[in-house]
Every structure is written in structure tokens, then in C-alpha cells.
């Protein structure tokens, strides 16, 4: 049961009719029951297009997609009945109150009025919106709206919850509240699929993730596996005066296993950051600032694609 496959995609392609862009260019993945699965990549990598296809609101241009073993082309409504969707932009119904939003959304799923009433109290508590139940949605803050969107997506007790950049645009405090809610859902056994371009979010929430770039999957694994596979244990970040990154980097190239020159700093991939920094100083190279940190998914992405994730 633990290894039950909920979503299976092979050779999945999405070509957008306007402009003919291949947003998703032949990807394969499998999603297992109970896991938190992430699509990591920069804007335009094809994450949202993939999510829309899984959500059965966009038809694949080629390849095969099965959700709960069903074909979205013929069983879209049946699949959607078992999904919860949190879109990238909040699409809560601004003409209705918080409670009415939950109510009508439940109705779209064909739930009875009594069943919706039962669910609403718990969901308002989950979203910390008990005091706001009778307010127009227009009066809510960004964080509250996002929590309402998530609460709404849970009205039908979905087996899979799709979250497209769930914390984009939220302040740090609101992000942490949201992460906490998502952890709780995961513990309750809800399967999560999320997209993000935040490294810390992917590392915090995802059991397994795929790194996407230009419509393709660059690699796949747990955050730990990916970091081990594509990065060293630590990273030494050196900052030099503007325009001098490349020249200074030449002098320290052999200290690192691998070295990346970015416009504003130089990254040295090393096992021991402090030792490397000592070696840099020993050569008489003095950066403006130096920082030793653990490797993150950002480094994985940089290694895989040669580009940074968020510019």
C-alpha cells in the first residue's frame, strides 16, 4: 500500500497553443501515496504547466499521464473530485465571505450542506480564520487568503493536494505558519505535490523532488541525495570588488573541487570550508567578505544547469 503509485507520467509534453512554446518537453515521473513530492525550478521551467496537467485543467500535447490509474482526457471530473488544488494566484471568490467560499466550493464537489457544515468548523480552525468567517474575502491579508485557499482545497478531503508555489509573495512569518500547516497535512497522510523556486521550502517539505529546467527534468531524488550527488559538503562564498570576480577566482581554482563564478561572487565547492578559506588567505587573496555554509539545493541547481534559480 505504501508504494501505491498515484500519478504516473511518461514522455509528458505540453506545447502551448499560443506561440507554440514547449513548456513541458518530455518528462517522466511517478508519485507514490503519502509522499511529499516537489518540482523545483526557476520561472518558466514548466512546473505550473505540469501541475495544470495533473490537475486535469490542461490537456497533455503528447505522452501519457495517469492519475489514480485514470486517464484525465476521459475521466477529468472523476479525478478532480479526489484532488485538492492550491493555484499559484489566489482565486478565492472575492464577492463572497470566508464561510461562503468554503460552502460553495464544497457544493461544486457535490457535498451535502450538512457535510460541508461539519467540515467548515475544522477547516476554519486549521486556517486560523475562525474570527474572519463572516468577512468578505477582499478584506483579508495575503497570508489569510492563501490559508483560505488551502482550507478550501481540503473541503473534499483530497487524496492528493497540489500546491503551485504555495508561499510565493508571503512574508517570512506567514510562510512558516503555512509550512507548519502543510507538515500537519503530510502527517495526516495527505499526498502533497508542490512546486517552488525556494530552496529552503523544497528542503523542508519534500521527501523527493525533481529539478526542472526548460521543460525537462535535470535530476531526481531526495534533497539530501541531490546535494550529495551534485555538490560538496560545504560551500565557501567569496565576494570581490565588482568586475574582479573572474580574475581573483583564477588564483584559487585548485583549492576547490569545483568553482562557480557568479556576477557578484565566487563559489568554491569544498569538503571543509574553513580549511579552504585558510588556504585562500595563505595565497594572499583577500576577499571583501567570506562565508562558509552548508551546500543547498541552490548549489545543486547551479551545478545541473549552470544558472541560479532566483535572479
Amino acid at each position: 500500500m505504501a508504494d501505491e503509485i498515484l500519478v504516473r507520467a511518461s514522455g509528458l509534453v505540453k506545447v502551448h497553443p499560443m506561440g507554440g512554446v514547449r513548456a513541458v518537453d518530455g518528462i517522466d515521473f511517478e508519485l507514490r501515496k503519502g509522499e511529499a513530492f516537489g518540482f523545483l525550478g526557476p520561472n518558466g521551467a514548466g512546473k505550473s504547466s505540469t501541475m495544470r496537467m495533473i490537475g486535469c485543467v490542461s490537456t497533455p500535447s503528447a505522452g501519457e499521464l495517469r492519475i489514480f490509474g485514470l486517464d484525465p482526457a476521459t475521466d477529468g471530473a472523476r479525478i478532480r473530485a479526489r484532488l485538492g488544488v492550491v493555484p499559484q494566484e489566489d482565486t478565492v471568490d472575492t464577492e463572497l465571505t470566508v464561510r461562503e467560499n468554503l460552502y460553495i466550493y464544497g457544493r461544486y464537489f457535490g457535498l451535502s450542506r450538512a457535510r460541508i457544515r461539519e467540515r467548515t468548523a475544522g477547516l476554519l480552525e486549521f486556517a486560523q480564520l475562525e474570527d474572519k468567517a463572516s468577512e468578505q474575502v477582499g478584506a483579508l491579508s495575503g497570508g489569510m487568503r492563501r490559508r483560505l485557499t488551502i482550507a478550501r482545497s481540503l473541503i473534499n478531503e483530497p487524496e492528493i493536494l497540489l500546491l503551485d508555489e504555495p508561499t510565493t509573495g508571503l512574508d517570512p512569518q506567514a510562510r512558516h505558519v503555512l509550512w507548519d500547516r502543510l507538515f500537519r497535512l503530510k502527517q495526516e497522510g495527505v499526498t502533497l505535490i508542490l512546486t517552488t523556486h525556494y530552496m529552503d521550502e523544497a528542503e523542508q517539505l519534500c521527501d523527493r523532488l525533481v529539478v526542472m529546467d526548460r521543460g525537462r527534468i535535470a535530476d531526481e531524488g531526495s534533497p539530501r541525495e541531490l546535494i550529495e550527488r551534485h555538490s560538496t559538503r560545504e560551500v565557501l562564498e567569496l565576494r570581490f570588488p565588482p568586475g574582479e570576480q573572474a580574475i581573483r577566482a583564477e588564483k584559487v581554482t585548485d583549492i576547490a573541487e569545483r568553482l562557480e563564478v557568479l556576477p557578484d561572487r565566487v563559489l568554491l565547492y569544498v569538503e571543509d570550508g574553513e580549511a579552504a578559506l585558510a588556504a585562500v588567505h595563505a595565497r594572499g587573496v583577500t576577499p571583501i567578505t567570506a562565508l562558509v555554509r552548508r551546500a543547498t539545493l541552490e548549489d545543486v541547481f547551479l551545478t545541473l544547469t549552470g544558472r541560479t534559480l532566483v535572479d
Partner: protein, 250 residues
């Protein structure tokens, strides 16, 4: 199984907060009736060749116009806002609801709204003593048919709109149609070629559908008008549905 009634339920919930807009919509034809129907009516007396008092002649045309506007405002202005800016349908379509549920639901709601506006206006017309036959009650199913035709047409038009400026183009069609479609004087005023053109207008057919019964004339002409409007409604939906699918399910 269709879930279009759920969209009607949603819109009813919204109108619980904004019911005053519906009252405003009844107010507009009342103004026309008072100023032109009754005001100018005192100068006109009876409509030539019919023996009908002028306000009594104009009232059903204003009823038809109210049904048209009530339905069409809903599937143009309101629907455009929901489609492009509030993105209400994007979230609805993540549920088992389909584009067809959304389109049929909106048209159904719009024709109900048009009929509701017409009913309110009909009460006022009756109170003013301008109704002389029980056949006038045919205005209610008539308004539903008119509402269907214009709601569907409005939906089709909305799928072509790019921004709010484009609404000027709708007004460019609607206002002349309102003025020329025998709202304020009979078809006989025009020379024959113009008559033919006016007879093709959907508002002319709508006015026929309500005016003839309210004057006590029941005949096959009513069927022509009804069929015209039903075909218009079906065509509107046939154009709108695939276009909405393309927009919403890209």
C-alpha cells in the same frame, strides 16, 4: 450529471450581498416609461392604426429591453470581470465542474435575472394601469426566452473581448438597436427595405414576442419570434463553448 445549478447557487449567494443592483435595473425602464411612454404619450395619444394608447404600446417594448439588458449585462460585464480579473472560473474548474457547467450555469442565471427584472417591471406597469389582458402574463416565459437568447449571445461576444474598451463596441450596437427596433413607434413608419432590416434585429423579435400578447394578439407570429430567439441562444452557446474551453483550459 450536470452541475450548472451550482453556479446559479453561487450567483444567488453573491446577490444576497448586492441585491440593490437588481432594483437599480428595474429603475431604468421605469424612467423611460415615465418620460417617454407617459410624458410624450400625452402628446401622442393613440398609436396610429392600432387604437392603442401610447404608454400601453411602449411598455411591452421596455419589458423586452429590460429582459435583454438584465441577461446581457450578466454575461458581458459581470462575466468578463469573473473570467479575466477575479479568475473565478479557474478555481471552479479545479473541482468536478466542467466548462459546460459554467457556461450553461451562467446563461441560466442570466436569463433568470432577466426574467426577475422583467417581473419587477411588469408589476409596476400593472400598478400604473397599463395592462388590460391576462395574456400579458406571457411576458414572463417570453422574458425567459429573450434572456436565453441575449445571455448566450453575450457570452459568445465576451469570449472575443480583450479589455474594457471593447465594451464601447457593444454599446455601439445595443443603443441604435434599442432606438430603432420599434421600441417607440410601429414598423409601418419605415420604408419597406428598412422594415426588412429592422425585422432581422433580435430586439425587434423580442418586442414582438411581448407586445403582441400584451395587446391581446395571439398568433403564429409569436412562434416565429420565439424560434428566432431560441436559435440565437443555441448558436451563441455553440460559439461560446469551444472558445471558453480554449481560454480556460489552455
Amino acid at each position: 450529471m450536470t452541475r450548472m445549478h451550482l453556479l446559479v447557487e453561487r450567483n444567488l449567494m453573491v446577490y444576497r450581498h448586492t441585491w440593490s443592483l437588481l432594483v437599480a435595473e428595474v429603475f431604468e425602464p421605469v424612467l423611460y416609461l415615465l418620460t417617454i411612454g407617459i410624458g410624450i404619450g400625452t402628446l401622442v395619444g393613440h398609436v396610429r392604426g392600432t387604437g392603442v394608447a401610447y404608454p400601453q404600446y411602449v411598455a411591452p417594448a421596455l419589458l423586452a429591453t429590460a429582459a435583454m439588458n438584465g441577461a446581457m449585462n450578466e454575461t458581458t460585464f459581470n462575466l468578463f470581470q469573473k473570467l479575466k480579473f477575479d479568475r473565478v472560473y479557474d478555481s471552479i474548474l479545479t473541482t468536478p465542474m466542467t466548462v459546460r457547467d459554467v457556461a450553461f450555469g451562467e446563461v441560466c442565471w442570466a436569463l433568470l435575472r432577466g426574467t426577475l427584472t422583467t417581473s419587477g417591471f411588469l408589476v409596476i406597469v400593472t400598478v400604473l394601469g397599463l395592462v388590460h389582458t391576462p395574456w400579458a402574463l406571457l411576458a414572463l416565459p417570453g422574458a425567459a426566452v429573450i434572456g436565453f437568447a441575449f445571455a448566450s449571445a453575450g457570452l459568445a461576444v465576451t469570449t472575443y473581448l480583450r479589455d474594457w474598451q471593447d465594451f464601447q463596441l457593444i454599446q455601439l450596437v445595443m443603443l441604435p438597436m434599442f432606438l430603432f427596433a420599434t421600441t417607440f413607434y410601429p414598423l409601418g413608419v419605415y420604408p419597406r427595405p428598412v422594415q426588412l432590416a429592422v425585422e432581422c434585429l433580435p430586439l425587434y423579435q423580442s418586442i414582438e414576442l411581448l407586445r403582441e400578447p400584451s395587446l391581446g394578439h395571439i398568433g403564429p407570429g409569436l412562434l416565429v419570434a420565439a424560434v428566432y430567439l431560441l436559435v440565437m441562444g443555441v448558436l451563441g452557446l455553440a460559439i461560446a463553448l469551444p472558445r471558453l474551453r480554449r481560454t480556460l483550459l489552455a
